[in-house]
């Protein structure tokens, strides 16, 4: 087990800088997820930790030792690739044993270790198969087996579930999580799926355009997103954003939205208010909003409503009787409204959010 420290890491391809000096610290035994939109530099960062990419600037240390110039195999890191990269000409057992074979481990010991990993992952019956004869989920498990036989200090995963169907993804998510709980190996996991990040991570690192936007536990990010980007990225369905400004202690937004806030009255700039879909209540009927779409998912129902230019998504518990075209009123849970500076996109801290909800029509 190990602690991974990333300090001021920069990556340039020629003159193109794709990671702009990021720092983060992954504690011993922690499960940290790097999340962000495509092209933001997650894989690049992960590959620099693995040693597959040269580090242009900054340092990466594992357990206090700077590893910038340490060969990948000497970093004691195992990596699970997005496409698994299982050697097609080797059986499952050979795939898992490959690193042990290279390290010169004896036959018996190798067999024990492979057998052990296979048992943990439920691969015992597949040991003699070739990767081409396995399903996606099985390949995924072999890729993990190949990583765990080495008993590394750090696990790296690069979007390991993106090639699986939705159901299998949920299952593998749980398996990876329980594997981590069992092995307690420091894990850095890359994904662009925020649900994966929310459900699996001890801490999430949100990246955008080669920079870290915020680091925190899933619920921290959910409850107190540092900026508009994180607010919009974390949570599903996405947070609703309403542009507007303060007038005395009332926020007036587009679509005729108003809500009380004790935001520093001195704040004069343009604002963006954010509200999660489940913090929006829909009135009975009659009101300025028109129901556009009703999407029942069983336990809850997603309702899209519109007023003027403003479209809001509301998540309603249970089932609803709204019909598209119907007009409804909208109530925000004012304790749950987030405010962002429209110019800097940064969060504005509330002084106090214990106002209680006030409804408006």
């Amino acid at each position: 087990m190990a602690r991974v420290e990333i300090e001021n890491i920069t990556k340039r391809y020629g003159h193109l800088e794709v990671v702009h000096g990021v720092s983060a610290c992954i504690e011993d035994g922690e499960f940290v997820i790097l999340v962000g939109p495509s092209g933001c530099g997650k894989s690049t960062l992960l590959r620099m930790i693995a040693g597959l990419e040269h580090i242009s600037d900054g340092t990466i240390s594992i357990d206090g030792e700077v590893v910038n110039d340490v060969a990948p195999k000497d970093r004691n890191i195992a990596m699970v690739f997005q496409n698994y990269a299982l050697y097609p000409h080797m059986t499952v057992a050979q795939n898992m044993a490959f690193s042990l074979k290279l390290s010169g481990l004896g036959k018996d010991e190798t067999r024990d270790k492979v057998g052990n990993a296979a048992r943990i992952l439920g691969l015992e019956k597949l040991l003699d198969r070739y990767p081409g004869q396995l399903s996606g989920g099985q390949r995924q498990r072999v890729a993990m087996g190949r990583a765990i036989v080495r008993d590394p200090e750090v696990f790296l995963f690069d979007e390991p579930l993106s090639n699986l169907d939705a159901k299998l993804r949920v299952q593998m998510r749980a398996e990876i999580k329980s594997l981590h709980q069992r092995l307690k190996t420091t894990t850095i996991y890359v994904t662009h799926d925020q649900v994966e990040a929310m459900t699996m991570a001890d801490r999430i690192v949100v990246m955008r355009d080669g920079l870290i936007e915020q680091v925190g536990s899933p619920l921290d990010l959910y409850d107190e997103p540092a900026n508009l980007f994180v607010a919009g990225f974390i949570g599903s369905p996405t947070m609703n954003f309403i542009e507007g400004a303060m007038e005395a202690d009332i926020f007036r937004g587009t679509g005729g939205i108003e809500c009380h806030s004790n935001l520093p009255a001195a704040f004069h700039g343009a604002l963006v208010a954010g509200i999660r879909p489940d913090k929006i209540k829909l009135g009975k009927s009659g009101g300025p909003f028109e129901v556009l779409v009703v999407e029942p998912t069983g336990a809850e129902t997603q309702v899209v409503v519109q007023s003027g230019d403003l479209q809001l998504v509301a998540l309603v518990q249970g089932r609803v009787t709204y019909r598209p075209g119907e007009s409804v009123g909208v109530t925000l849970d004012e304790t749950a409204v987030h405010f962002f500076d429209a110019r800097t996109e940064q969060r504005i801290e509330h002084l106090d959010r214990n106002l209680g909800s006030v409804s408006r029509q």
């Binding site: 990596m79 690739f81 990269a85 097609p88 390290s103 081409g132 190949r146």
Partner: protein
């Protein structure tokens, strides 16, 4: 009386399913080539098989002799000598081309300007007429005058007669053949190397493999289809290739003392120097049949170069 109201006219144009049409289109595309092969290769092969049963005199008179040409072959020491030389030539050429082609490909695999130039250099001999190549080499190694022949005594190797000594001549033509052909095999290997996804090398890096381990455990096994292809075509090239013939014919003409007389050279001599077309045709048939048997066997043993897991 039918109640079916399927609008028949609407689908008339597609009586052939899309899949069948694709299939037919595919065959139409290969038809010209297939016809060419049939007319210019299949037919002559069949004819030479038939011709092998005849005795042809210099004036174009044909006499059916049955298996006489074949029994003559069995008793002809020069035939056996040529068969032996052919086998030796192939046994040296095939592995050498494999090793040299692959080594060159590995050497210039990384794409950069420098390697681009080197790649062209190794392929350059193919831009020149093979006859010229053979003549240039002959000039380089010919006794007394050749540059290399003069160089060897200076290096203390004694006066090696590269083409004049039956002990060396075969090695010399093998060396020139390798030199000439390896650029071509380098290109084939480059293509094969390019087909191996980089992720396997990255996974191997993480698994702790160095360059040598990567070569043995990743490159070589994943190169199997290419290796199969290379061994197949280099075998054919060695036994029946026009390039092998050109090089040997120009440089030694099969000599000295028949030491470089591969079968194609001997067949050529029988046909065009001695007018023994029937005998030559019979030998050519044997050559083709044994080559087919060998490649067929190899195809079966290696499942056509496919991976065992496919």
């Amino acid at each position: 009386m039918s109640t079916s109201v399927r609008p028949k006219t609407k689908f008339r144009h597609s009586r052939l399913s899309a899949r069948n049409r694709e299939w037919i289109a595919g065959y139409l595309f290969v038809l010209p080539d297939a016809l060419g092969l049939l007319v210019f290769l299949g037919l002559p092969m069949l004819l030479s098989l038939v011709l092998g049963l005849y005795d042809v005199d210099g004036f174009g008179a044909y006499r059916f002799v049955g298996m006489a040409n074949y029994t003559k072959m069995m008793r002809d020491p020069l035939f056996w000598q040529s068969a032996k030389v052919t086998a030796l030539y192939a046994l040296m050429l095939v592995p050498l081309l494999y090793v040299c082609g692959l080594s060159l490909a590995l050497l210039v695999q990384k794409t950069n300007r420098f390697n681009g130039v080197i790649r062209s250099m190794f392929f350059a001999p193919h831009m020149v007429s093979l006859i010229v190549v053979a003549l240039v080499w002959q000039f380089l190694v010919v006794d007394k005058i050749g540059v290399l022949s003069r160089l060897t005594p200076a290096l203390g190797l004694g006066g090696i007669s590269f083409l004049g000594d039956p002990d060396y001549a075969l090695f010399t033509v093998v060396a020139v053949s390798v030199w000439f052909l390896m650029g071509y095999y380098m290109l084939i290997f480059l293509g094969g190397l390019q087909d191996i996804p980089a992720m396997y090398y990255e996974a191997a890096t993480m698994d702790g493999a160095g360059p040598i381990a990567k070569f043995w455990y990743i490159t070589l096994p994943l190169l199997k289809p290419t290796s199969f292809f290379v061994i197949m075509i280099s075998m054919v090239a060695a036994v029946a290739g026009s390039q092998a013939f050109d090089i040997i014919w120009v440089m030694t003409g099969g000599g000295p003392a028949n030491s470089t007389s591969v079968l194609i050279v001997y067949i050529y001599q029988q046909a065009f120097s001695f007018g023994a077309f029937g005998y030559a045709a019979a030998m050519a048939s044997i050559l083709v049949i044994s080559l087919m048997a060998m490649t067929g066997l190899m195809f079966l043993l290696t499942r056509g170069g496919r991976f065992s897991y496919e």
